[in-house]
């Protein structure tokens, strides 16, 4: 485990923001931190980045309790992010890079690489207020990763980007992971969770209600719905071990969605149908992360 939080509790004046939150983030993976608005994600991130302190519990980095210097091994892109409007883009990026511990020379060298990579070299001497929102997002992204941190925390990194630029950022996230960085991604965009994340934790009402590998979670939440494509145009089998959800003819086939009932195994279910019909294809429906999210949160 690269990062762990153990029983973190945080109480604000009128509400409990985090209630015994423990998450485990393996090294070199993308970890999705999910949850509805106000669930406590931002509070947890602020505790990991040492912006605030927990009332109890602890944060471990690399197996030992995190200390003040760890801040400089973390790159954090907050959801509420901005830039000094009156500053020039280059100066601003230099300033943020130096604040994150780079020397002037290193900061300049790294900036040149990143500005070229994101194709914003021409903006170096322009004022921030002249930039479009997407441009500003690029500058913010660069200033998050410039000091080559081991742990990256992105809170809604794709908001404000058009699809082309969002894709650039996605590629960068995967590239950083392949370099061995550990990444925490907090987002409401479930498609990108399926696309990028290896593990997730779902926080709801200040508690972790779901945690694990993305694929395992989807499997665990499968609704036992199977899709069959059969030869012929009729299906009239009835059996207590399944209910028919829909049937639709398709050319010379018929497509079924059936939900398994009771203790019958998938194999027996298939065998049951195979005995009477010719099965062209069959698969089990896996829920999207969106389904899992909604089902868990509204339960």
């Amino acid at each position: 485990m690269y990062l762990e939080t153990a029983n973190v509790v945080k109480q604000y004046a009128n509400h409990l923001a985090l209630n015994n939150v423990s998450i485990q983030v393996p090294r070199g993976t993308v970890f999705g931190l999910l949850g509805p608005n106000g669930a406590g994600k931002t509070t947890l991130i602020r505790i990991i980045t040492r912006i605030t302190a927990p009332d109890s519990g602890e944060v471990k980095i690399d197996g030992r309790p995190s200390k003040a210097e760890d801040v400089y091994r973390i790159g954090y892109l907050p959801e509420e992010r901005g830039l000094y409007k009156k500053m020039k883009v280059g100066e601003q990026a230099m300033y943020l890079a130096q604040l994150r511990g780079l020397s002037k020379k290193e900061a300049h060298r790294e900036l040149m690489i990143w500005f070229k990579r994101f194709d914003i070299m021409g903006w170096y001497n322009r004022k921030v207020e002249e930039l479009s929102k997407g441009m500003q997002q690029k500058v913010q992204f660069i200033s998050t990763v410039i000091h080559n941190p081991d742990l990256l925390i992105f809170d809604e990194p794709f908001s404000g980007f058009d699809p082309v630029n969002a894709d650039i950022v996605k590629r960068e996230v995967l590239r950083l992971r392949d370099e061995g960085k550990t990444i925490i991604l907090s987002t409401h965009n479930m498609e990108s969770v399926e696309e990028l994340c290896d593990n997730i934790a779902l926080i709801h009402q200040s508690q972790v209600v779901l945690q694990g590998k993305v694929f395992a979670i989807r499997k665990e939440h499968r609704p036992n719905i199977f899709r069959f494509r059969l030869m012929g145009n009729e299906f009239d089998l009835e059996h207590p071990s399944f209910t028919l959800l829909s049937k639709e003819p398709y050319h010379e086939f018929i497509d079924l969605r059936i939900q398994k009932q009771g203790d019958i195994s998938s194999n027996d279910l298939v065998r049951l149908i195979l005995a009477r019909y010719e099965v062209v294809s069959y698969d089990e429906e896996l829920p999207t992360m969106n389904d899992v999210f909604i089902r868990t949160v509204t339960r």
Binding site: Y12, A13, R46, T49, I51, T52, A53, P54, D55, V71, Y72, I74, Y76, L77, P78, E80, R81, G82, L83, Y84, K85, K86, M87, Y95, L96, Q98, L99, R100, G101, Q140, S143
Partner: protein
């Protein structure tokens, strides 16, 4: 460079480079010079009538030397027996010059009493005459001592080089019959000048700190910042950086004033040039007198206390401004918290204004000890000369308070900058202090 240093550097450089800062810094001294010199110049304008000055010279040495001019008629009056000359002041007498002792022994034994402020022109004429005589007296003493040797020659050299420093006390007789030393007028002007300066700086730079905190909150950069800089350092960097901008402005002003006055003394040192440079009616504008007065003030002491009170007052109010700015999200919301603070500052300024008339009264005394008004009010009183313990107590109280307030402010700031949405109540802000 460490992070605090970087924050200070950014806050400082972005402000010093602004056009508005440069323009204000260069124009302000011109305005101040004009404001302070015009009344002085007006007061020295001659109204054309001949003024009578009574001379009471107990020694009899100096009276015959005073030459009447077109504007002033000197009349020698015997020591006693006659009608008290004070009663004639303002009628046929303009001023009374009183010499009580040999000025060679006691250079302060001379005073000039008048109802109106004695013109610089008259003062410097008297001082010049008396100084010449005293120098002569000293040289006479030396030659009458007989043996003129090597040591005596060095003494002569130093006498001539130093000149003599007869100090003329100017007294004013007001209509109530009481006499006050009129150098208080200068003290008043200086006191007011520094009070206005400190008042202006606290408001202006306190507001600048507030705007800086609010700017970071509004532009949402603050969370980016605190992920690499501790909130305390962010606040400290802001207060120090902006304070340094203020100090830079003060230093530039001091240098500009220095240039101005040394330029002035250059003109005075070469009178021929001045005569041609100035129109005829301005020749009565006695630069030398003004210069002497200006130079006689203990600028070092006043400057020293000014810096101390400036730093204390600025940090105290900057912390308060920053504390409230951190708790709100928009300019409109600041007014609820800012109005009471601004009122306190304005109250302090008014207290300072009234303390000028009575620098040792209870209002002046208490207002110069209470930390929230002391930086402003104390600057009025210092030029009048007040006991050291009062100054020290005031500074200790001020510095103690600002340390306490800035610790509280830092705690509230740390929570406030990350809070968006609802405007917090004072009660909620007190709770924030206890957050981990």
């Amino acid at each position: 460079m460490n992070r605090l240093g970087l924050v200070i550097q950014r806050e400082y450089i972005t402000r010093v480079r602004k056009k508005s800062f440069i323009i204000l810094t260069l124009l302000m001294p011109l305005l101040m010079v004009a404001l302070s010199l015009v009344p002085l110049w007006l007061s020295t304008l001659n109204d054309g009538s001949v003024k009578n000055v009574a001379v009471i010279d107990n020694t009899g040495i100096y009276a015959p030397l005073l030459q009447s001019t077109d504007a002033y008629q000197f009349q020698v009056i015997g020591g006693s027996g006659q009608q008290e000359p004070e009663s004639r002041l303002g009628k046929d007498l303009f001023a009374i010059l009183q010499i009580t002792e040999d000025l060679n022994q006691n250079p302060r034994a001379v005073s000039l009493t008048s109802q109106k402020q004695a013109p610089q022109e008259l003062q410097s004429m008297i001082v010049r005459t008396l100084n010449e005589k005293v120098t002569q007296q000293k040289l006479d003493d030396l030659s009458s001592s007989g043996n003129v040797d090597r040591e005596a020659i060095t003494q002569v050299r130093s006498i001539v080089e130093e000149g003599s420093k007869v100090s003329l006390r100017t007294l004013r007789l007001d209509s109530g019959g009481s006499v006050s030393e009129s150098s208080t007028e200068l003290a008043t002007v200086i006191g007011m000048l520094f009070t206005i300066l400190i008042y202006m700086f606290i408001l202006m730079y306190g507001n600048m700190v507030m705007q800086a905190v609010l700017e970071e909150k509004k532009s949402r950069i603050v969370e980016v910042m605190v992920s690499s800089v501790k909130p305390v350092n962010l606040l400290l960097g802001k207060v120090v950086g902006i304070g340094l901008v203020g100090i830079t402005q003060l230093i530039i002003w001091a240098i500009l004033m220095g240039f101005f006055f040394s330029g002035l003394s250059f003109f005075i040192a070469s009178p021929g040039q001045m005569d041609t440079a100035m129109p005829a009616q301005m020749s009565s504008f006695d630069m030398e007198g003004i210069m002497n007065t200006v130079m006689s003030v203990n600028w070092l002491e006043i400057g020293f206390y000014f810096i101390l009170f400036f730093i204390g007052g600025y940090i105290l109010y900057a912390s308060i401004f920053a504390m409230f700015a951190s708790a709100v999200d928009s300019d409109e919301d600041t007014s609820q918290f800012m109005t009471p603070v601004t009122l306190i500052i304005v109250f302090a300024f008014l207290a300072g204004f009234y303390s000028v008339n009575n620098p040792d009264g209870p209002l002046a005394f208490w207002a110069s000890l209470v930390p929230f008004s002391s930086p402003i009010v104390m600057m009025v009183r210092i030029p009048f000369g007040i006991p050291l313990w009062e100054k020290l107590l005031s500074i200790v109280l001020l510095y103690g308070t600002f340390i306490l307030i800035s610790i509280i402010a830092a705690k509230i700031y740390r929570v406030g900058i990350l809070m968006y949405g609802k405007k917090p109540s004072i009660k909620e802000m007190v709770k924030w202090i206890k957050y981990k």
